[in-house]
Amino acid sequence: MAENTDKMVIDGVELTGIWKEFLPSRILYEDVTTEFLDEVKKLPGGATIAKCYQCGTCTGGCTLPDFVDKFNPRRFIDLVRRGHYDILVNENKDLVWKCVSCQRCTHRCPRGVNTQEVVRAIAKFLEDRKVFGKLTNDEAFDEVFMGEVIEDGRIDEVKIVKDFYSKTGRLKDMMRADQLSLGFKMLTSGRIKLFGGKIKDWKKVSQRLKEELQ
């Protein structure tokens, strides 16, 4: 008789077999890996991720959950460290970007984790793996914003709004009455200008920036 075989007769019925096979244990994650941890650690700002001891001070004091209820920096760190890549992508890929960098978590962390930077690094890690498919609003805005800074050296409000809407394919939304009246109000009160000024000889700086960012 094989090992792990239990001999049992109940009410004259023989129940002999390997009990382990009758009641298979529920294993959801078989391969836990630290490869993602190593990857995030190497990204800018990700170095302190391994210091975390999962106390939850960051999430407990986070300013975001009032608005984005599932935002949870401690969990992002946990998922990366445990190698639960699928949960990170399926449930959290749209959340990690929402950090507003108020730095409360970093300031309070009892272990010296630079939480805000680590969350950014996790977002970058997901971006590098191209999990987002089409451009998100956040990414589109980042691209338009950085593009403008590099090209002109300053932000032209009207242009940035127009570019943002056209990039996300919502130019029609921009022409909605409420948007137009808001724009008009801001224009008349001097909040925005129709044409932003130019910076002298920005071309050279712009050239240099582009070379650096290549």
């Binding site: 001891y53 106390c55 960051c58 407990g60 401690r74 962390c109 009892p110």
Partner: protein, 349 residues
């Protein structure tokens, strides 16, 4: 030379002094306050974990053994201001309000102990801003029938009996922000004990403990932890308290329930901060006067942690108890006896 100077009149110093006197040494005990018993007496510790036996049961006999022994000279309200010479002959200047005196000793035992961490630097917990945020030593005074509230649990703001009480663990311990990355070693069991005492006093109150790890390594501690959960229904939530605010005139705490992956907001009547253990003034003073080594956190460093735990970096000067790092009363008494044995055997040779 059969005289020994013991600095510090807490549990460790008292035990060391009475043991040494019992072996025939003449002991001078120097205490900066005008009472003996150290932090136990200062903060009116009421009951001791894990047996919930009155602290007086333990500290009174230790004090009595010192006061009744004619070989021990107790200098209250005194400080050691200067020490010169080397082993086995030290000259120590003892100063009190009346003046200075110089005596010669064969050995010096430093048992200057610890002080409770002051949570005012953890500004997010609101200690000092909100009256109902109190420390665990203040609760100990409250529970003691000889304390300011005559043993009644009342919240400081309006004197009402609190219904919902939260306890924050690891305040000023395991925290790099305040420079104390070490574990205070007693906070867990003290909070569990206080939770049980509160539940016994007010059975319809609710007690919530916010913790990161419950470190129940001492004798009977784990059993006490089980008792708190099973018999007293104390709710232990894994998540460090993040902040305390005032909402609709009520204390409101925020933390993450890490098991549930969600931040929670919790309105309570009183918050107890389990303040950690820091090196006391007396310890830092003694290190300066005697010229002995301290560790990174201000505690005294033994010559060898494993092989000579009670010897300081200087020959003839011995260290014991909570001035070496956080320690519970039970082990402080062990330390006091251990250092006495070491001193006696070294002085004999």
């Amino acid at each position: 030379m059969k005289t020994v100077l013991v600095i510090g009149g807490g549990v460790t110093g008292l035990k060391a002094a009475s043991e040494l006197a019992g072996m025939g040494y003449n002991v001078s005990l120097v205490e900066k306050e005008d009472y003996l018993g150290g932090q136990v007496v200062k903060h009116k510790y009421y009951k001791l974990a894990p047996d919930l036996r009155p602290a007086g049961d333990v500290i009174d006999p230790v004090i009595k053994a010192v006061e009744s022994n004619s070989n021990i000279k107790v200098h209250k309200h005194s400080r050691v201001v200067a020490v010169s010479g080397n082993a086995p002959e030290f000259k120590a200047k003892i100063k009190n309000s009346k003046g200075e005196s110089e005596e010669t000793f064969g050995a010096i035992v430093v048992a200057t102990g610890f002080e409770h961490f002051d949570p005012i630097v953890k500004q997010e917990y609101g200690y000092g801003r909100f009256k109902d945020v109190v420390t665990n030593s203040e609760v100990e005074e409250m529970l003691n029938p000889n304390g300011p509230t005559k043993g009644e649990l009342k919240r400081p703001s309006d004197g009402k009996v609190p219904k919902k009480i939260a306890i924050f663990q690891c305040v000023g311990s395991r925290d790099k922000q305040v420079g104390n990355p070490y574990c205070c070693r007693v906070g867990c069991v003290v909070s569990t004990k206080q939770a049980i005492e509160i539940k016994e006093k007010c059975p319809d109150s609710e007690v919530y403990v916010y913790y990161m790890d419950m470190r129940m390594f001492g004798r009977g501690w784990e059993e006490l932890y089980g008792k708190a959960m099973e018999d007293y229904e104390v709710i232990f939530t894994r998540g460090r308290g993040a902040e305390v605010t005032l909402k609709n005139q009520q204390l409101s705490l925020r933390a993450e329930e890490t098991v549930m992956n969600r931040p929670i907001q919790h309105s309570v009547d009183m918050i107890i901060l389990a303040a950690g253990i820091a090196a006391g003034d007396g310890t830092i003073d003694a290190a300066k006067v005697l010229g002995i080594k301290q560790n990174d956190y201000g505690f005294l460093a033994p010559k060898d942690d494993f092989l000579s735990p009670n010897e300081s970096s200087k020959a003839g000067i011995y260290i014991a108890g909570a001035d070496k790092g956080p320690l519970d009363i039970e082990n402080c008494i062990v330390e006091g006896a251990a250092v006495a044995a070491k001193v006696a055997s070294n002085l004999k040779n």
